[in-house]
């Protein structure tokens, strides 16, 4: 993968006739090349070149301090070992469940907030400001504060106690995985014995989902608000003349108009979710029994703690593929496919 689509001049000996066209080409494109050339060169190396290097590390034997790019035998053995390991399987489970729960909560909350804020007229700016505020903070700040809100000896549990609720959930310290279907799957999947972790919902993740939604529901709201502001007044008026109730209006008139915003929100928040790292590090780390471990943490620990460079690289390539599935079609559709 390279980005050499830049209209580059051919270097080296040129036929005499070409000299004039070359100078004309440079005259026309000199500024473009001067500006974009360095950017494309640098990003070509730092994005595409570096990804290629990491891919190469992922199929190498490199473990430990000494660089060793000797290909592994069999080539993909790092991947197969990693994919079979209980921890990485738990990570994939966690990031999937986290993404589904987080997207649902953030989008629903963002949509409700957008409608309420949009209709609050005079206090619109104030409320928008409040709900979007967490977005301006670092995930580390969010994680450090929410970690304590969901520490069993304090925070939410103090409130539950006061309300007379005896539950005392363990939140980020709870190792329970509910709704484990791995046993059932093992009997169905031919070959069996490939699932080495509990396939269910780790309860500890719920606290992280809440913190992440607190930080990013405002983003969904802001995008929905921009969409609502773009709906022509006539549509609302026509709907009200038809006697549409508020709920019907939002469901049948506003919703279809907001679809492009919904796609944007799902793509942006979805890829942020798959890349989760800082928030989890600050809030719960890998959690009890890897209940809140995510691929982002796995890559970091394998690479810089265990010095298992090939495993870390392989896990990061898996992350890239997960994100790529969402982002590449989105970029293609937005900037290449549908000519604007």
């Amino acid at each position: 993968m390279t980005t050499n689509a830049l209209p580059q001049s051919r270097i080296g000996p040129q036929p005499k006739r070409a000299r004039t066209s070359l100078s004309r080409f440079l005259e026309r494109n000199g500024f473009r090349i001067l500006v974009l050339g360095p950017t494309l060169l640098v990003l070509g190396i730092f994005v595409y070149g570096f990804i290629a290097y990491t891919a190469r590390v992922s199929v190498s034997q490199w473990q430990g301090l000494a660089v060793n790019l000797e290909p592994n035998d069999p080539l993909m053995s790092t991947y197969s070992e990693m994919l079979a390991s209980p921890r990485f399987q738990a990570d994939i489970r966690n990031i999937t469940i986290f993404t589904v729960l987080f997207l649902t909560l953030a989008v629903v909350l963002g949509f409700v907030l957008a409608i309420l804020v949009h209709n609050s007229l005079r206090s619109r700016g104030l409320f928008r400001g409040v709900f979007l505020f967490p977005y301006s903070l670092s995930f580390i700040v969010t994680g450090v504060v929410w970690r304590w809100i969901f520490t069993p000896s304090t925070g939410v549990n103090l409130i539950l106690d006061r309300l007379g609720i005896d539950a005392r959930p363990g939140w980020i310290t709870d190792p329970t995985v509910v709704g484990d279907v791995s046993g059932a799957l093992e009997t169905v999947v031919p070959g069996g014995d490939v699932i080495n972790t509990q396939l269910g919902i780790p309860l500890a993740l719920i606290a992280v989902v809440i913190a992440a939604s607190w930080q990013l529901a405002g983003f969904a709201m802001a995008i929905f608000l921009a969409g609502l502001a773009g709906i022509p007044e006539e549509l609302a008026e026509a709907a009200s003349l038809d006697g549409a109730k508020t709920r019907q209006y939002y469901w049948h008139v506003a919703m279809p108009q907001l679809r492009p915003m919904l796609v944007t929100i799902l793509v942006i928040l979805g890829h942020v979710s798959l890349k989760s790292f800082d928030l989890v590090v600050a809030m719960s780390g890998r959690g009890p029994g890897f209940a809140t471990d995510v691929p982002g943490i796995y890559v970091f620990e394998q690479t810089f703690r265990s010095l298992s460079f090939n495993t870390g690289a392989a896990a990061s390539i898996v992350m890239l593929l997960l994100v790529g599935i969402i982002i590449v079609p989105y970029l293609y559709r937005t900037y290449v496919g549908g000519k604007s």
Partner: protein, 278 residues
């Protein structure tokens, strides 16, 4: 606004305002916890007093946190300011080309460039460390600036491209008739109109880079040189530190971007929408 509009009747509006107020209180709860804990006296410094109002206002928590975090706060400033300015400037030039001087294949090129802001940075960490070691910038703030500038180019280019696309091309066409070079067209015509673009891109980058964690912890192993987010995470894992000092640390790390948000909120929202919606 006409009264016939759906959702505009009086009862619905009151219900809406009450719901909004409740949600606002819930949303501000973590901020309350952080701010109030920071000013609590030592006898209320433990997390089990989280919901209590402070018996007296004291600065011991903030002083304790500031003593630990001050060098890292300064590091973050030394990092964020140059990285923001450099990446915004490069983004302005690139955005100008993509918006006003498109060429065959420029859309594909632009999309490939944008991919750089979506990748999980985990996938480039090993080569980044090796590269910075090779050029002798590993472990330094300059190295971190370089990394933030490079990976900031896609988003600043996007923001400026969107910004320049709103500026009518006629302005430029007139200048071409006058025989101005593209560089002159950019510096004389576009730059004077670019201040809002720079504000939007600048705020976006300031926030992004200030809040970054993964590059900071990867590129700089020396705690004394690390940015504030990394230092805060370390502080939060330190058992000997009082809980209210940790909250005060979070507050200190939050203040710069929170200030930018409160003062320049309008531009903040613009950056956010232009950074994600076409």
């Amino acid at each position: 606004m006409t009264d016939r509009k759906p959702g505009s009747n009086r009862k619905a509006r009151v219900v809406g305002l009450v719901a909004l107020s409740i949600l606002a209180v819930v949303f501000l709860t973590p901020v309350y916890v952080m701010v109030v804990a920071s000013v609590k006296p030592p006898n209320q410094a433990d997390a089990i007093y989280m919901w209590q109002l402070p018996e007296s206002l004291e600065t011991s928590g903030i002083e304790q946190a500031w003593a630990k975090l001050k060098p890292n706060f300064v590091n973050s400033l030394l990092l964020v300011l140059p990285a923001t300015i450099i990446s915004s400037t490069i983004g302005a030039l690139n955005g100008f080309i993509f918006a006003k001087m498109p060429f065959r294949g420029s859309n594909v090129l632009f999309a490939s460039l944008l991919l750089g802001m979506f990748i999980p940075y985990q996938v480039v960490l090993i080569p980044i460390v090796r590269f910075l070691q090779y050029v002798n910038l590993y472990g330094s703030i300059s190295g971190l600036i370089l990394v933030h500038v490079v990976y900031g180019i896609p988003i600043t280019t996007l923001i400026f491209r969107n910004y320049y696309e709103q500026i009518p091309s006629e302005i430029l066409e007139a200048s071409q008739v006058d025989g101005a070079t593209p560089f002159q067209a950019f510096t004389r015509l576009m730059l004077p109109l670019s201040l809002p673009g720079f504000v939007v891109a600048g705020i976006f980058q300031f926030t992004n880079i200030w809040n970054d964690f993964i590059f900071g912890i990867t590129v700089i192993p020396d705690p004394a040189k690390q940015p504030i987010t990394v230092a805060l995470n370390n502080l939060s894992g330190t058992l000997s530190i009082e809980w209210n000092a940790v909250m005060a640390g979070a507050l200190i790390a939050a203040i710069p971007t929170a200030l930018v948000y409160v003062v320049l909120g309008k531009y903040f929202v613009q950056g956010l929408t232009s950074g994600s919606v076409k």
